[in-house]
């Protein structure tokens, strides 16, 4: 079992997350795809940490999880207030910041 297998797997998961962010228009599913991408990076960090015997990678995963929790709380609050104003979560119709 080489480290390459874990890295390939995380690359594939990251790509699926990118497809979700670009192709889907539902804000909640875009948000879940972002979580998927964060997790694929976490897998890379844990793989390197285990193979190099260095704890720093797992520490970084710990902090990434904290940031992901904060991001989920804030992002979902933004989605709720957007939905309250526009009655939609379709990203194509949310263009109030567009010039």
């Amino acid at each position: 079992m080489g480290i390459q297998l874990y890295l390939y797997l995380s690359a594939i998961l990251f790509m699926i997350g990118v497809v979700g962010v670009i192709a889907r228009r539902n804000a909640i599913i875009v948000f879940m795809s972002i979580e998927l991408m964060l997790n694929s990076v976490n897998l890379t960090l844990v793989a390197f940490s285990a193979f190099l015997g260095d704890v720093t990678g797992q520490m970084l995963v710990f902090f990434v999880m904290t940031v992901a929790a904060a991001e989920a709380a804030i992002g979902l609050a933004i989605i709720i207030s957007l939905f309250r104003n526009k009655q939609t979560v379709n990203l194509d119709e949310i263009n109030i910041l567009k010039w």
Binding site: Q4, Y6, I22, N39, N42, V46, A68
Partner: protein
């Protein structure tokens, strides 16, 4: 060794499959459930790397807290007719596929050429690094400052979430 390979490949196939299903489902509740399945597969993969602490908090934080928040929001919004959001094959989707395929090839080429000379997997060493005891010791000595900064981040997130979700801004 064979058992390890079987576990790794089955978890890898399950995680890729659930991720694909998550991205393609119309109903956000079903997508969220597939994402939870994906999180469990990833926790299993962390266990194959002897990262027990990370595996446990991954389940606790992601499947336990974040996904519950997602499901709450999906049910609060009551999105109703999903066909209004339906998106057929469009130029944007084709571009998305092409771009992400290019990104995948780039990442794979980096991983193929850039991982030479890395040490072999040492299970004893990995086991020593991944325990709760070792991580806790490091967290409260070497990584104490980032750990404390995290609390400020979470405080800011709490205040921001309350302010954003409040009914009337005053």
């Amino acid at each position: 060794m064979i058992l390890e390979s079987i576990v790794f490949y089955s978890l890898a196939v399950a995680s890729v499959g659930s991720a694909l299903l998550m991205v393609t489902r119309r109903n956000p509740v079903i997508a969220a459930l597939y994402l939870i399945l994906n999180f469990f597969c990833l926790a299993g993969l962390y266990l194959t790397l002897q990262a027990q602490f990370i595996a446990v908090i991954h389940i606790l934080v992601y499947a336990g807290a974040i996904m519950v928040l997602f499901l709450f929001v999906i049910m609060l919004l009551n999105l109703g007719d999903e066909r209004k959001l339906s998106d057929a094959i469009s130029p944007r989707k084709i571009i998305a596929g092409g771009l992400s395929l290019a990104l995948l090839l780039e990442l794979l080429s980096i991983f193929v050429t850039g991982t030479e000379g890395l040490p072999e997997y040492n299970a004893d060493q990995a086991l020593q690094v991944g325990t709760v005891e070792y991580i806790g010791k490091q967290l409260f000595t070497k990584f104490l400052f980032p750990f404390e900064v995290t609390s400020i981040l979470l405080l800011a997130a709490i205040i921001g979430a309350i302010l954003l979700a409040k009914k009337k801004p005053d």
